[in-house]
Amino acid sequence: MRSYLARRLLLLVPVLVGVSVVVFLVLHLSPGDPAEIMLGSQATQEDLARLRRELGLTEPLYVQYLHWVTHVARGDLGRSLWMKRPVLDEVLNRYKATLVLTASGLLLSTLGGIVLGVTSAVRPHSLLDRASAVTSLFGASMPVFWLGIVLMVIFSLWLGWLPASGMWAPYGGGDLRDLLAHLILPAVTLAAASLTIIARLTRSTMLDILSQDYIRTARAKGLVEGRVVFRHGLKNALIPIVTVVGVQAGYLLGGAVLTETVFAWPGVGLLMVQGILARDFPLVQGCVLVIALTFVLINLAVDLLYAYLDPRIQYE
């Protein structure tokens, strides 16, 4: 177990190097020069050339990459081209907000998905099951930004129940209640698609399991239905569900980019969008590295969870 963990952690290094190379290349090879975007249409050639030189953009690509990577290895993610602020400070500052949002989204989609899936499986083809199938179709096919705007119009503009944007009250100094009020709309928006996927998967896995012989045996023994469904059914259905939840975690981290933009949630996603629009290379690279690291760690956690759920699984 310990050696497995060590190996997996070591594997992080090549994964992150790979991510860094890909992000670096995608950013630098895609059209749009940061100096050009920064200076706009009024720039003189002289200002432009000077700025490119100062930003280190005149060096060959591999030199720029090596320069960046050696700094990253020392824990220095560089300075944002636009904001002129240290990237690491900026990203960590925003990371908390993203964690709060994605964790809530993950919790909501997992709990909601399992509850919905189990209920549908217990009473297949019931009204609830059909309603959940229709809602799932909606949830899975609605783009995040559109769902977010619809929810915002209904719950903020029309009903006035929830704030439309931000993480805290505009004047500052909010408490937990304030945070929760701001969190509901973005978390629901973010969770919607994943929730439906988890619900559908839970339903089909549970249906499968509930028709197994050992379930019939459990029922024949006279166990209460709840115990049959949860202890005998759900626990055995959890392996595929956990796998999907792990994948969804990555999806949620990506979805946070859109959700954060719609709801002005001050997270890494919003920062990354600003960075991309400005072609702020070090900033975007920093954001992606941190998100990639999070995703890899979540997947590691999922893998470790398997052993707990199914004692037959062993790590070597």
């Binding site: 749009g32 944007s165 004047y171 500052g172």
Partner: protein, 525 residues
């Protein structure tokens, strides 16, 4: 079936937790501190040192903290004294001497003096200056490339020595890049100064929660008048619908950059007021004057007749643009009031094309950015122009590009037709016409992307540059504009109308033609 029953009862706790969370969170009512204005921005400022930024949002916040030697009154772009009480211009136009206001202090207590002025400008252009390395000054050359030196004559008198005479130099000094900053603060914070700006303005910097809010507080000892607001909180909200919802639900008091589609909706809403103001901006379809068939004036004029600008302004911009007759903003001192816009006349366009030898039209390419600073709705506007041109036989292929890539591509001479805009931020025609249309400014050296050249026009612009008398300059510019409209190097399209919407409690707000956002004029009911 008792077993089924017990299953439902096991689901109940989950529902209760959910309901509890909802009720706990419902309707938080935040106490509203007195005298606090909430302003919604379309994006977060990148930093608050106006010498280091180029975007409107950063400037709109940053310029509340710092001030310039000369400035604009609250409703126009005429030049009036700012931190300088008075000034003289030498006969040869090479030396501008300013007398500073006495007794003015920066927010950190540092006195405003000639040294601070020299510091603020020279940090951008003098590579030996101790603060040169502390920042990147994007427009240093555009604005101050012509400044040879800044000389301290006495603590209250400072002189700018120019390399060449430039009558628009006062207009240059109204730019954000010409803001006077506290040298003490710049040296104290070093590269982090843009997050801790210190100036002499009506508001001082208080705090910045990244991604959430920038807070400015009233400067109680402001030399001009103390602001009526205690505090201004700027909230960056990228999504249009969210910004609008916040305004209508009390999370914001004032928003600018209202999308065209929302304007009529807001105008009918009794909770808010809507304000409009044409800005010092011009949107044009550039034509490469040196490339066939556009080297023929008749072809360029035909394009002007063919494009239905009224329809673009009315249907695409929905009142967020006013028809443009030329590059200079109508109503300012340099504009020629007698200019006539090319009317929409496709028949005349066809005749002109036939006269020029293209009775069956021709095929060409139009480059368009997907978006960009000051570009309004580039793709929709260009699509209308494309269909207008097709109606007179000119088949246009639209090529849309990402803004940065677009600007890079425009540094060539390959362009045929291209959509672009210019925000001068002041009304001096020299700051629009010279860079965009003087033949010395052809790309790639300058921004004359239309490769326009007319000897008489060049000469008029040059004369107006070295003439200090404004009435004489105006006469020169009027003649230049008449030549320009006849030569038709661009299709003149529109000047952007800025739109602000604000809650009824906001009093005394005015939109500024320079696109500045002067919240210091506001009081709250």
């Amino acid at each position: 079936m008792p077993a089924r029953h017990s299953f439902s009862s096991m689901m109940a706790p989950a529902m209760i937790v959910l309901a509890l969370a909802l009720s706990l969170a419902a309707l938080p009512v935040a106490a509203q501190p007195a005298g606090t204005l909430l302003v919604g921005l379309v994006a977060e400022p990148v930093n608050l040192d106006p010498a280091q930024v180029t975007d409107l949002n950063s400037n709109r916040v940053g310029r509340r903290v710092v001030e310039t030697l000369v400035t604009f009154p609250d409703e126009s772009t005429q030049i009036v004294p700012g931190l300088a009480e008075s000034w003289t211009i030498s006969k040869d136009g090479l030396q501008y001497t300013f007398k500073l206001r006495s007794g003015v202090k920066f927010h950190d207590g540092t006195p405003l003096n000639a040294e601070a002025v020299k510091f603020s400008i020279e940090r951008q252009i003098n590579t030996e200056h101790p603060a040169y390395r502390l920042g990147k000054y994007p427009f240093a050359n555009f604005f101050f490339g012509n400044v040879k030196a800044v000389e301290v004559l006495s603590p209250e008198r400072v002189a700018f020595l120019l390399k060449d005479p430039r009558a628009s130099f006062l207009a240059v000094l109204t730019a954000g890049a010409a803001s006077i900053v506290s040298p003490t603060a710049v040296m104290k914070w070093g590269p982090d100064y843009p997050s801790h700006p210190v100036g002499t303005g009506p508001f001082r910097f208080a705090s910045w929660d990244r991604g959430q809010r920038v807070v400015l507080e009233k400067n109680p000892t402001y030399w001009k008048y103390p602001a009526k607001l205690e505090r201004v909180i700027y909230r960056p909200i990228v999504e249009d619908q969210a910004r609008l919802t916040e305004l209508l639900t009390g999370g914001l008091d004032l928003i600018v950059g209202v999308p065209a589609d929302f304007v009529s909706q807001l105008e009918q809403n009794p909770k808010v007021s809507v304000l409009k103001q044409t800005g010092a901006h011009v949107w044009y379809l550039g034509i490469n004057n040196q490339k066939k068939p556009f080297d023929d004036k008749r072809v360029r004029q035909a394009l002007n007749y063919a494009v239905n600008k009224d329809a673009i302004v009315r249907d695409v911009l929905k009142g967020t643009g006013s028809l443009s007759k030329g590059p200079v903003l109508p109503g300012t001192w340099g504009a020629d009031a007698g200019l006539k816009a090319y009317p929409y006349d496709p028949e005349k366009a066809k005749r002109l094309l036939a006269e020029a030898g293209y009775p069956n039209g021709f095929t060409t390419t139009m480059w368009v950015p997907e978006s960009g600073s000051g570009m309004q709705a580039p793709v929709a506007m260009s699509t209308v122009m494309q269909s207008n041109l097709k109606a007179v036989g000119v088949n246009v292929t639209l090529q849309t590009m990402e803004w940065g890539a677009y600007l890079t591509k425009l540094r060539s001479k390959e362009q045929e037709l291209f959509a672009l805009s210019w925000m001068a931020g002041n009304e001096d025609p020299d700051m629009v016409m010279y860079p965009l249309l003087h033949s010395s400014q052809w790309t790639p050296v300058g921004p004359n992307r239309a490769q326009y050249k007319n000897a008489r026009f060049d000469d008029l612009l040059q004369q107006a540059r070295v003439t200090t008398d404004q009435a004489k300059r105006a006469a020169l510019y009027r003649e230049a504009q008449r030549i320009l409209v006849d030569d038709a190097p661009w299709v003149f399209v529109d000047h952007e109308i800025q739109i602000a919407a604000f809650a009824k409690r906001v009093q005394g707000f005015k939109l500024h033609p320079s696109f500045d956002l002067r919240v210091e004029t506001i009081s709250l009911k």
